[in-house]
Symmetry: C2
Subunit: 198 residues, 2 copies
């Protein structure tokens, strides 16, 4: 028998952040409490599926009815600064920090030798157009701190230098996360935190 | 603006096994890869929601088209042994261990002082009827090893002694890690616990 419960477990296990056990628990809970868990989740997925799109300008998430997104069209934002991120979800994290009030550009990926993702797969044509037409004074490269993030930042830095030679290029500082102890930090983070001491 | 992405995060975070961070990552992934992740998950939830029900006899999960479930109607199973579990999902875990070939009864909960769940909330009337009509020689109490599981097993033991005085009552051997539910135990642990029942 094809088992709908196992199908559900498999569909859940494909999500990032869920191991096999978590997917199993979640599937059982969904079947056990359909009104409380399954129906709201069905509605929320369908709603997000239908209503959330990527902004035509920055590539960040926005409502289908608000494209370009509210960030790209907000007259109060600093249009001389651009922050380039890997994923649309990174934008929300930076917005929560309150540390940046400029514009964004989400690449939808990163240059990854291990996964065979090259510059051609990213939203780089759109970025090149923005860099030459929007006259940014500063471009912040907010890519991840893993090897692929480093490679992506390096690639982007070269691109900014040629497409917008007047712009300052910076990268988010490396260092220890707030509220974490030295003893529990990994060696690479510590090395970078030490190198960036001031 | 009511944000469909946040609604989706909240609906996901309500599932057991997902923290806030996992729910956030999962929501982003669902929106980022709708065809690969959201559509199969929507279909799987809808399918499980529509097709999976609880067996009228044992209370375990079964297809709507197979009620009573294949376990309750299988002529090869030992109808003299009954295994009482808390949740429908516990049955699949015990089946995977291969250590039991009798019949099941899922209570759909446990006696819990902390959550105010008393015997009246469980499938105990159905259990009492089965105990007096089905002539079991052995009743295995496979409740969890937490305090509520102990209380439930104690309550059930008294019930079996009066409703089926000829039956042996046993409980899964300690061998299960304390404070864990049956559904999340690995097959080997379950098999040993089943073999060591007393």
């Amino acid at each position: 028998m094809r088992n709908p419960l196992e199908n559900l477990e498999r569909a859940l296990a494909r999500l990032p952040g869920l191991g096999r056990r978590s997917a199993e628990r979640a599937a059982l809970a969904l079947v056990r409490q359909p009104e409380v868990l399954a129906d709201p989740l069905l509605a929320a997925i369908a709603e997000a599926r239908a209503g959330v799109v990527c902004c035509d300008i920055c590539g960040g998430f926005t409502l289908r009815s608000e494209n370009p997104c509210p960030r790209c069209t907000d007259p109060m934002r600093d249009t001389s600064a651009l922050c380039v991120v890997e994923e649309p979800g990174d934008i929300a994290a930076i917005e929560r920090s309150g540390a940046f009030n400029g514009l964004y550009h989400a690449l939808h990926g990163k240059v990854s030798a291990s996964r065979g993702t090259g510059p051609a797969d990213l939203r780089l044509d759109a970025l090149a157009k923005r860099l030459s037409s929007e006259r940014f004074r500063e471009v912040i490269l907010a890519t991840g701190t893993d090897l692929d993030g480093d490679a992506t930042a390096e690639f982007l830095a070269g691109m900014v230098r040629s497409a917008a030679p007047g712009a300052t290029v910076s990268r988010l500082a490396f260092g220890l996360p707030v509220d974490s102890g030295i003893a529990y930090s990994d060696p690479v983070t510590l090395k970078r935190a030490m190198a960036g001491r001031r």
